[in-house]
């Protein structure tokens, strides 16, 4: 299917775009979520990604490869813009108290808060990486692209993908060791402090967003 699809996309075929959307909306949505940490931001990023794909269809390289790297590349750029100011929102989410019990209306929010907490834990670690490293890591580890595809998505050489991932790995190893050492020293926390902890966990991410790299 793919070989014809890329050409049809380049030619601006309406049905090809419908197919592209159906095949990749989910992957783009989840990738955007992992970069923004916010489902509604991810939804916007996903929608805008396909609009941008349409507008940039003529810049798409010819060939027969999967179109996923291209879309995730566009989504990565979109997510970068969406992230401006999102650090604050993430911190807010993490601080948000449990939802009030209002029957049906509250159920879904509970799921969101769980996600937010889980995400805050990821951000505490992931947020210590440089943006370029984060993006390549999200593409290769969570979205399942290989190095060449990630290079295509980001418009960078394969060697750069490799070196960014090596740096990310080195830094994550170091963080893991530090964490182990701290856990041995620190007494267990009280339950009530969890919210506070999550708010702090989101801070490095916010600081990171302002890092001019």
């Amino acid at each position: 299917m793919t070989e014809g699809l890329r050409e049809r996309i380049r030619a601006g075929d309406r049905e090809a775009f419908a197919q592209l959307y159906e095949e990749h909306a989910r992957a783009v949505y989840n990738h955007a979520f992992r970069l923004t940490g916010d489902w509604s931001a991810a939804e916007e990023v996903m929608g805008d990604t396909f609009l941008d794909a349409w507008r940039g269809r003529e810049q798409l390289e010819p060939g027969d490869g999967s179109l996923k790297p291209w879309l995730l590349g566009v989504a990565t750029n979109k997510a970068r813009n969406a992230n401006r100011g999102l650090g604050r929102r993430l911190a807010f989410l993490a601080r948000r108290p449990a939802p009030a019990p209002v029957a049906d209306f509250a159920e879904e929010s509970a799921g969101r808060i769980d996600d937010a907490r889980q995400l805050a834990a990821v951000q505490a670690v992931y947020g210590r990486l440089r943006r370029g490293e984060q993006e390549v890591l999200a593409l290769c580890v969570w979205s399942g692209l290989d190095y060449a595809q990630a290079a295509e998505a980001m418009g960078i050489p394969v060697g750069t993908v490799r070196s960014r991932l090596s740096r990310a790995r080195a830094r994550l190893r170091k963080l893991a060791e530090q964490r182990l050492a701290e856990e041995k020293k620190e007494p267990p926390r009280h339950r009530g402090e969890v919210q506070h902890e999550a708010a702090i966990a989101a801070l490095p991410f916010q600081e990171f967003q302002e890092d001019p790299r």
Binding site: R14, R26, P99, A103, D104, F105, S109, D114, Q118, D146
Partner: protein, 283 residues
Amino acid sequence: MRPDREDAAYEDTTREELARLLPPVPAERDVPSAPYLHHKDRLMQLIDDTADQKTTPDPKARPRLLRPALLMPAAGLALAGALAVTFTGGGTSGDTTAQPHETATVLLERIAGTAAKSDVTPVRQDQLVYVKSVTAGAELKEDGSSTLEPPQKREVWMSQRVKRINKTGEMYAGGGYTSTHELGGSPAGVYRPTYQWLASLPTDPDALLKELYRMTEPEKGQEKAQAVFDQIGSFLGRDGDASGDAAALLQGGCEDPGVTRRTTRGTRRAATGSASPASTRGP
């Protein structure tokens, strides 16, 4: 730095180790159905609009029907207002003639134009749609006379959840609050139109009508066209019977040859903005 090996096995071990070093990420989700359709529709519309610009425009082309959800929040108040104007213009008995219908059509066109320019904030799932309305009805008696009943105030809060829910909202009417329930639960859809669901409907009049015919089940003794007509009415009213509005909309935008005009005498007047989102919680 690692030696320059490009083989897949090396890539895989690196990726596996990175995944181990990071805490687990939240599980992947499907795009919820309403946004999924909404964004697809946006894409298709952009494609169509681009294609339209390239080909010579047909001067007789039928105007694209406004996305109902877009029209509604911005125009809800204006629409109700327009009908109220028609109503007062039509005489105190509530009796309508051909002239007020024309007025309504003209006004609707103007409203549609304004709504197209307005930037409407989408209503999220964790919000409620709030409608405050004042309605007054008049029953037509057998001798042809009618008396206007005193106006009734009404407020409703409607859930915007996509999933199937039992409690669909709250209502204030006649001095008391009541919850609205749907036995067996009701998902967002034709019988519980949420903002996002409405936004996902096609904007082309023919496609929209076709879709409505597909979704609407006629009640006993009802023709399909009649059921669809009522359905459009309920979308516009969102809350209760507002077939007067629907008639105006059908005249204004959507020509449905299968629909016979009903002669319900009823008009609505929104005391405050219609469908203005009221946040229950969150930022």
